[in-house]
Amino acid sequence: MRAEILFPEVCNLYGDLQNVYYLQRCCPSLEIVETDLKSKPRFPEEDVTLVFMGSTTEQGLKLAADALRPYREAIAEKVDAGQLFLATGNALDILGDAIDSDAAERIDGLGLLPTRAEYHMMQRHNSFFVGKFEDMDIVGFKSLFGHSHGMGDALFDTVKGVGRDGTPQSGEGFRRGGLMATYLIGPLLILNPPLCKWLLRQMGADDTLAFEEAAMDSYRKRLSEFMEPGRSWKY
């Protein structure tokens, strides 16, 4: 079983990479391979159980998009055939059509998701999020310069907070075949033990978590905190 981290030299913000390392703590037989910007991604041609790409800088968005562009068609085929691919934070935008910014030139995405991001570099959005995925409660955080406007299946239903377009009415993230992309940042799988268990099962692994009791304790506390009526999702 193998997980491929794409471009850890730039797609490494906010502790996002710990998602993959946590999976390895849960499933010690999971091999982690790191693919840098100058190397060919393995998953289009090799057997990779999970591909992961995390939050990055604005410079990193362009570098990552350029590095993946030659493999666009292969990636589309793979994810449509069920290749597990988790993108967190603004890595989602690399997979969309384009990123428009008020402080930089437009960055062309891969066009795998029918959406377009719009960044306002002096207006950072910070919020917490409660959502539903299958029968699970999802908790997480957003810290972004913008939102994404487009069509396509959402990954999570929004219960509290905002979805992918910055409104409470929209769903959060995108799902296309095995591709799961969400604007939620950080150690999403550590913060959401039920989701982590689900993913481990999808990967064909045993779903026992590392430090499961402590992780569940933290998760339950956060979920109840987020759902308190007086608590505002917006920072």
Binding site: E9, Y14, G15, Q18, M122, G186, K221, E225, G230, Y235
Partner: protein, 462 residues
């Protein structure tokens, strides 16, 4: 019209000062805040001293600013500073209001040392154009406010006045890339025995060349991306320091500072922590730029202390109680502190309460920064106990477990005061209280309670 509005803003700001004193709100940013509300370009019109130094950067700017002010004042300068207030527009404006006459002309002060928040650059530098801008370093800071260091570097590059000379950390390639057209000089610390080449930290934000995106190789690395790097593809490399610390001896607390002419100048260290030696070097570089001699700087350092609210210790009943500010939401600052704690000899008990109290009631702190932080450094035989307390206690417990710390060393207690009951308080131990910025008042109340407990046990404070 602009000038009239400025005068109105100034007078209102000045009038508010005695009003605040009467109501015992002295020291707030209200005068500046009021003035900027009345006159948004207040800073454009207010008088400035002939020489201005701005200090900015992720970590160390308060320490560096305070040291600069102390030394310059000891040298007889009248220094305008915002040390009593905040480092954003309102705090800077308040400092000017307090030091100008009724027409807005600067009184007495021949210099200004201003600590300036990085994100406030677009609002301050159009009007305040320092002769020197010192950038201590650029690291990851608050995820919510500062995103990532490249973002902050970009804000600074867009807003620093072209004529300001930059004083930069040669060992930090992120801040070295700021405003590349500005005149600049560098400070740094030369290769040290404990340096490594591979990164041992979770945060490593300078892995690729800023010119060609090729892989960077580090000749030596102190921590994170701090060190001397070379691009394997295009040859780009870290700059050479104009003021370089060499022969740093943490035990003897000495170093020498070598300038580019090769002459070495001995100094006594006022600290044994590396990040504070960088702060010392930043101060030395700035003072040398201002024309002070090494002899003068060395003598003045002898009377300088690191701000006590950040690091202080007191021996009570045989237990050494250490208050260590570890800025919550700042992975770098916490990692540096953890590295420092593990380097100290002796048994340690830790009260982990770096919670962001400001958001604990109405929002909820994002714990992502904990996963950028080297909690692994606390997995050390000498660290015998870690008591997690406060709103994020469960997150800390989980993070400590993932750092490999044995569960039997970890204790959980929501209430910070009750957490004291879980501490071993073994005579001879160092007890660290780790707290965040807005948790400072709470941390000192907790320390006071701890002191009561220890004194009740029959100890004496020293």
């Amino acid at each position: 019209m602009g000038k009239l509005r400025f005068l109105l803003a100034l007078w209102l700001g000045k009038l508010s000062i005695p009003a605040l004193k009467i109501t015992r709100h002295n020291g707030t940013d209200f005068p500046g805040s009021l003035a900027v509300r009345v006159c948004p370009d207040f800073l454009k019109y207010v008088g400035k001293p002939p020489v201005m130094v701005a200090v900015t950067g992720t970590n160390g700017k308060t320490t560096v600013s305070n040291m600069l002010v102390d030394i310059l004042e000891a040298e007889g300068h009248h220094v305008l500073s915002n040390r009593a207030g905040s480092n954003i527009t309102s705090g800077v404006s308040t400092a000017f209001i307090r030091n100008c006459d009724l027409l807005g002309r600067v009184k007495r002060c021949d210099m200004a040392v201003l600590e300036i928040d990085e994100r406030s650059a677009p609002k301050i530098y159009p009007y305040v154009r320092p002769n020197y801008i010192l950038i201590t370093n650029l690291f990851r800071d608050s995820i919510m406010r500062n995103a990532h260091p490249g973002y902050i570097a970009d804000i600074l590059s867009r807003n620093l006045p072209r004529e300001s000379k930059l004083i930069l950390n040669a060992d930090d390639l992120i801040s070295c890339g700021v405003a590349e057209e500005n005149d600049r000089c560098y400070f740094g610390i030369g290769r040290m025995p404990g340096d490594v080449t591979d990164c041992v930290n979770l945060l490593n934000d300078m892995r690729i060349c800023p010119r060609c995106a090729g892989k960077l190789r580090y000749d030596y690395r102190r921590y994170h991306h701090i060190g001397h790097a070379v691009c394997e593809s295009c040859g780009f490399h870290s700059p050479e320091a104009d003021y370089l610390a060499e022969q740093v001896d943490l035990q003897a607390r000495t170093m020498v500072v070598r300038e580019k002419n090769g002459v070495q100048h001995p100094y006594d260290l006022i600290t044994d922590s590396l990040f504070n030696i960088y702060n010392m070097m930043a101060v030395i570089a700035a003072l040398r730029q201002l024309g002070l001699s090494h002899d003068t700087i060395r003598q003045r350092f002898a009377g300088t202390k690191i701000l006590e609210s950040r690091l202080s210790e007191e021996s009570i009943g045989g237990v050494n109680v250490i208050m260590q500010m570890s800025k919550d939401k700042n992975a770098l600052a916490c990692s540096r502190n953890f590295d420092y704690i593990r380097s100290k000899p002796g048994r340690k008990e830790l009260l982990v309460m770096m919670n962001c109290m400001g958001v604990s009631k109405n929002w909820s702190e994002n714990p992502s920064w904990m996963y950028d932080t080297d909690f692994e450094f606390l997995n050390h035989d000498d660290i015998v106990q870690l008591v997690c307390a406060g709103p994020r206690a469960r997150d800390y417990k989980l993070r400590l477990l993932l750092a490999g710390i044995p569960e039997e060393k970890i204790f959980l207690e929501d209430d910070e005061f009750k957490a004291l009951d879980k501490l071993y308080l073994t005579p001879g131990d160092d007890v660290y209280i780790l707290y965040g910025v807005d948790g400072t008042p709470l941390a000192f109340r907790v320390k006071a309670r701890l002191k009561e407990l220890l004194l009740a046990k029959g100890g004496q404070a020293q």
